[in-house]
Amino acid sequence: MGDVDVHALRGVNISIQQGDFVAIMGKSGSGKSTFMNILGCLDVPTRGKYMLDGVDVGALSKDQLANLRNLKIGFVFQSFNLLSRTSALENVELPLMYNRKITSREMRSRAIQALESVGLETRAHHMPNQLSGGEQQRVAIARSLVNNPVVILADEPTGNLDTRTSLEVMEVFQELNRRGITVVIVTHESDIAAFTKRNITFRDGKIIKEIEVNKPRNAREELSLIPVTVEEDEL
């Protein structure tokens, strides 16, 4: 298959500080997902170095990478990636299952807490196919933050959502960031990037632009301005 070498990323040198809120932008195929997968320890770079929370990820074994994903990273995917026919609560509990320091009672209460922080505590026992896209993505966000990670990585989290639900998701990210969690998202839309603190643009595997956002938009304020239309959730 991979006879042709694809250099998805090259010469990328970037540092993201704790408490930052970064949007990665760029055309399709520019290497955004590849970059995120490396940040999320799902993939390892063929060359180069990645330091996460003071640890050189390149030197870690498969099991140590799994531990890192479990304890320090929360990953949110464009396609939600929830376990089907598994309730929202159980989906949120999933990372805690692989954290051996947590008792089953603690597991339950932390999962409920995480669902509360995305405003879905009433949907705890719904299956993914009983939830709207926005709700599924919020469940996925709850899952990503349940283990108190140092960073939440979201690859096009609003890619499959409409404007209103995108705003809801961004509101959650802004709230998490306000609480001190580092958030990195990938997005095609500059509207969405405007909610973050810093925008980085990729092209052909290289960073071509890096800007600070002067005055980030506030998702909560904007949400309160939009009149509530038909609640798609109530279907």
Binding site: A66, L94, N147
Partner: protein, 406 residues
């Protein structure tokens, strides 16, 4: 991942596909069930054969003359005339391990009572015969050595003879029957023993004093065979040895010469009869075991399908921190659960089938704890063995590839 969580995860994912889980389990259920049933049948028949052999008597030994090869021409066994009452006497005097001994002659007899008639074997023996063969009477009494000395025309009959000559539930003590036209008085009726290990009716018998049959019916001077019993089961080989030595000396045969008689002990007969049923048990269990392995291959097949189907799930689990061994354990436990649950249901199923066979076909069955334990262990071993490869395949997936899998 903690064991409890692993178990919960396994139960959940098996419950998601109930029909598939059940069908996969079916292979194991049938396999284990047939192992249990086959062993139960095999053990049952072995046990019933042993029980039947014990009806021969206690520590019984049969001695019959054999045509010696010294004459050049071998003669049919039992036609030799070399065995006499002297042999019986010398054995009872010189063999301390022998508890009792009786000469034996057999004649076929045409029995007539009133307008009924019946054909059966008439045995001529000493009263010790009843002790050796453990025969008890339901009514009347055994003849004595006095009857033997006077060649008295008395006899003891089996239940089948009574039924055929006098009808069931009759008590013909004191009545006369004609055996080969000689009138005999019935003085005892033997308790029913049923069929022996070779399917012969042990109640179809007439027993009379030795001399009566030898002189009045057969008109011979030799004896056809001897029946003896050893003092204890452990003394059977000793008794056999003593009889061999005494008889060889009596028949003037050197120690290196072949004896002109054959001794067969109850142990020999039991061994002969149970070895066939043992082979049968092994054969049946092997066939059942093969079906169990086929069931295991079914598990492997379904687990492989399941791993492919759930590649994305594996990716999701790995992305939130599942290590290779967590995934391995998850799939292994699923396979183990299928086989263990299948094993337990199979054991119940096997026991039910055995009982059904016992009830409908009237076959003797014996369910042993061994066979249950064995199939339980065997089915879990199959779960681990056949679950290992698919589980390993799942564990070795790369998280990013698994997540991208469509």
């Amino acid at each position: 991942m903690k064991l409890k969580n692993l178990l919960i995860a396994a139960i959940r994912s098996l419950a998601k596909n109930k029909m598939r889980t059940f069908l996969t389990m079916l292979g194991i259920i049938i396999g284990v069930g047939s192992v249990i049933a086959m062993i139960a049948i095999g053990q049952g028949s072995k046990k019933s054969i042993q029980a039947q052999i014990s009806t021969l008597g206690t520590n019984v030994m049969m001695i019959w003359p054999q045509a010696s090869s010294t004459g050049g021409v071998r003669m049919e066994a039992g036609t030799s005339q070399k065995m006499t009452l002297e042999d019986v006497k010398i054995i009872s005097e010189r063999c301390p391990a022998v508890a009792a001994i009786t000469p034996q002659v057999r004649s076929s007899g045409q029995l007539v009572a009133g307008n009924m008639n019946w054909r059966t074997s008439v045995y001529g023996v000493y009263p010790e015969y009843f002790e050796i063969r453990n025969l008890k009477l339901v009514s009347g009494s055994v003849f004595t050595m006095n009857d033997d000395r006077s060649a008295a025309k008395v006899c003891v009959v089996g239940q089948t003879v009574v039924n055929n000559l006098f009808g069931e539930d009759s008590d013909p003590i004191g009545r006369f029957i004609r055996i080969n036209k000689i009138p005999f008085k019935i003085i005892g009726i033997i308790e029913s023993k049923g069929q022996n290990a070779f399917g012969q009716d042990q109640d179809d018998i007439v027993i009379a004093p030795f001399s009566t049959v030898q002189k009045r019916m057969l008109a011979i001077t030799h004896i056809q065979s001897m029946l003896a019993s050893a003092k204890t089961e452990a003394l059977i080989p000793t008794a056999s040895q003593e009889i061999t030595e005494v008889l060889k000396a009596k028949h003037q045969l050197g120690p290196s010469e072949d004896p002109d008689f054959t001794i067969r002990t109850q142990t020999d007969i039991a061994k002969m009869a149970t070895s066939t049923s043992g082979i049968m048990t092994i054969l049946l269990a092997t066939i059942a075991g093969i079906s169990l392995i086929v069931g295991g291959i079914g598990i492997m097949n379904i687990m492989l399908v399941s791993v492919t189907e759930r590649t994305r799930e594996i990716g999701i689990r790995m992305s939130v921190g599942a290590r290779g061994r967590d995934v391995l354990l998850q799939f292994l436990i699923e396979a183990l659960m299928i086989s263990l649950l299948g094993g337990i249901i199979g054991i119940v199923f096997g026991i039910l089938v055995s009982q059904l066979i016992a009830m409908i076909l009237m076959w003797p069955v014996t369910i042993t704890a061994d066979s249950i334990l064995m199939s339980f262990l065997f089915s879990s071993a199959i779960g681990i063995f056949f679950g290992w490869y698919p589980a390993r395949k799942a564990a070795q997936l790369n998280p990013i590839d698994a997540l991208r899998y469509e």
